[in-house]
């Protein structure tokens, strides 16, 4: 294990040394891996778009263990990478600890929360509950049984935040609707367990669900597959997953991590730090996807209702309760 770490460290060191001269930005992907078809992949796509448009290069590492978090941050910072963009809530604490040691380097964290943000850190968060609210409305309108499902990945407040917004959207359309919510597990393995995702979906179908929303990383692949096999509808998350099972995925709750990463890379060393940026419906940081794969599933009335809600949320006429505010959800018990 130690030997492995040395190798990894050496590899990271070499990679960093190669890029040190030009102060290239760096990206730290979370344990889910940069090809999770979801959160991390969205970040990767954003970075690739930036690289393509500007011809710039960026450093990257995909974390393999918890122990690498701080190590990767320090190595990137020492090698002169700027800004260092970190993915995932679990990077927030390492960033908080490391950032004061490297005042010249700017750090960005997506999805995390730090009570007192250091001057060289920018925290980006998304109002996932707003996007989830909209797909919840679509789910309730598409459901014939009046029962819809939610499959979360690892049981963390962020995922409850998704589920809470979703349940509120469902209840807004149909107050009598039942929302069945399951979490895959309590360890990071819950992000990559499609077999359990399938079983959860089957169990929810057995209880009457005919639309299932997966906010579960790689586990969601199993959820979407089973939903398609059993001929019910599913809802994807983070990236646009409509194409995975054309005509069977009702919509995807978009979380424009790609846009956030792209913007951060574009600002480069001029990035504004020392505060939090919250991206919601108004900033188009979250939303729902409509493309050629799901056009037929979303009727004009459905679209009209969702667009009305979207406008109302942006205007502030409609407020979607956040799980974070009270650590509980008005529409759903976990």
């Amino acid at each position: 294990m130690t030997l492995m770490k040395k190798f990894l460290g050496a590899a990271a060191g070499i990679a960093l040394a190669a890029g040190a001269a030009a102060a290239e930005p760096a990206l730290i992907f979370d344990l889910g891996g940069k090809f999770d078809k979801s959160f991390n992949e969205a970040a990767f796509n954003g970075a690739e778009r930036w690289a393509e448009e500007t011809g710039g290069k960026y450093l990257e590492i995909v974390l393999q263990s918890e122990a690498q978090r701080e190590q990767a941050l320090r190595r990137f910072a020492e090698a002169g990478a700027n800004p260092v963009i970190t993915m995932g809530f679990a990077m927030a604490t390492p960033v908080e600890q490391v950032a004061p040691d490297y005042p010249e380097t700017k750090f960005v964290n997506i999805d995390g929360f730090i009570p007192e943000i250091p001057a060289n850190v920018q925290m980006i968060s998304f109002q996932e509950h707003q996007g989830s609210y909209l797909v919840g409305m679509l789910a309730a309108m598409a459901s014939e049984s009046g029962t819809v499902g939610f499959v979360g990945g690892m049981d963390i407040p962020l995922i409850r935040h998704f589920g809470c917004g979703y349940a509120q959207g469902v209840k807004a359309v149909n107050p009598d609707a039942t929302v069945i919510a399951n979490m895959t597990g309590t360890t990071p393995a819950a992000w990559n367990d499609p077999v359990k995702g399938s079983e959860l979906t089957k169990a929810q179908i057995a209880q009457g669900a005919d639309v299932v929303y997966a906010a579960a990383g790689g586990t969601g692949v199993g959820v979407l597959q089973t939903a398609a096999d059993e001929d019910i509808l599913s809802i994807g998350v983070d990236s646009n997953q409509n194409h995975l099972h054309s005509g069977k995925v009702l919509t995807s709750m978009l979380k424009r991590v790609d846009v956030a990463v792209y913007e951060a890379l574009k600002s480069g060393e001029d990035l504004e730090t020392g505060g939090a940026v919250v991206l919601g419906l108004a900033e188009e940081g979250v939303g729902y996807s409509v493309d050629e794969h799901n056009e037929a599933l979303i009727s004009a009335e459905m679209k009209e209702a969702v667009e009305a809600a979207r406008t109302a949320i942006i205007n502030g006429e409609l407020e979607v309760a956040s799980y974070y505010a009270t650590d509980s959800c008005p529409a759903l018990d976990f």
């Binding site: 090809f35 919510a181 393995a189 692949v221």
Partner: protein
């Protein structure tokens, strides 16, 4: 809980138990011959990848199954060479196999398919489809038996029936054949087997290879039966739960079946109910998920019977000169 719910949970238990059972029997052969195998997880993962990849490329699930068994056999051979031929530490070799499989599967998948460490989704003949047993529809009208037959007994893929058939077969091989006697002896006292003029090395290699075949079937079932393709780390610790089941079963085939079904049932209940209320006490889902491990620790601590591993387990055999 009504009858239909019970049926659905039982059905789900079977699906969740079968990969465990195959891996558990795989470990049983290996450990009964004195070779500890921590690498069940890695072998299943490699098999799941190979099965998913070859089934996707050829569109034939049986080619995928063979490829899965092949991939698992390669890792088994590595384990055999390291721990039998070179008398290395069996635990370290197993851990190395797990790490190797976790890294290589994603690396090769990404190079091969460029889908981010996944294999393309399988369709049609690339998947292992459930088979309906005869008379499933005819019996349906019979109360209790009919739905049980249709929902629970029928409608699984062929590997499920194979896995279940392997339990009596393993019992017969281990306890009723000469090979089985020697296999058990080599795990208890290899010196006596050697004295009798039987090759310890060959016996142990055979056991490790049988283990490879079974892990291969388990991995292929995950990727082509339960899912439609491979994704990174999709075994999600099932190899380790199988090891726990093996200890729980005290290294015996029939006990292995009951242990895996019990663990599968606990998982299925955890999947179906977020929290269960029994006599006014709410049992959280996390406890249900941890229960297999808690039970194993209880068994290991000797509270309920005693689990005695094969005596020569974990020790490389050195022939006296």
């Amino acid at each position: 809980m009504d009858f239909l719910t019970l049926l659905q949970i039982s059905d789900s238990s079977v699906r969740l138990a079968i990969p465990l059972l195959l891996a558990c029997l795989a470990g049983l052969y290996s450990e009964r011959a004195g070779i500890f195998d921590i690498g069940l997880e890695g072998k299943m993962l490699a098999a799941a990848f190979a099965a998913g990849a070859f089934a996707a490329v050829t569109g034939n699930v049986w080619v995928g199954l063979l490829a899965g068994i092949g991939a698992s056999l390669i890792l088994s051979a590595i384990h055999g060479v390291a721990s039998i031929t070179f008398r290395g530490n069996q635990l370290i070799s197993g851990v190395a196999i797990n790490m190797l499989a976790a890294g290589m599967t994603v690396l090769i998948a990404q190079r091969w398919f460029q889908q981010g460490g996944r294999t393309p989704s399988l369709t049609g003949d690339g998947r292992l489809n459930p088979i309906t047993l005869p008379f499933a529809d005819m019996f349906e009208s019979i109360p209790l038996f009919g739905p049980t037959y249709k929902e629970l007994i029928s409608g699984h893929s062929v590997l499920v029936y194979l896995a279940l058939a392997l339990v009596p077969l393993t019992w017969w091989v281990l306890y009723r054949t000469r090979f089985g006697l020697r296999l058990r002896a080599v795990g208890e006292n290899p010196a006596s087997v050697d004295t009798a003029g039987v090759s310890v090395v060959r016996l142990r290699f055979t056991a490790v290879m049988i283990c490879g075949v079974l892990c291969g079937v388990a991995g292929a079932y995950l990727a082509t039966g339960l899912q439609a393709g491979f994704i990174k780390d999709m075994t999600a610790g099932r190899g380790f739960i199988a090891l726990a089941a093996l200890i729980f079963a005290k290294w015996r085939p029939w006990y292995a079946l009951w242990a895996c079904l019990l663990f599968g049932f606990l998982q299925a209940v955890a999947v179906r109910f977020q929290s269960i209320e029994i006599a006014g006490v709410v049992i959280p889902v996390q406890l249900m998920e941890a229960l297999p491990f808690i039970l194993t620790v209880i068994i290991l601590a000797g509270f309920v019977g005693r689990a005695i591993p094969p005596r020569a387990g974990g020790e490389p055999y050195i022939k006296e000169r």
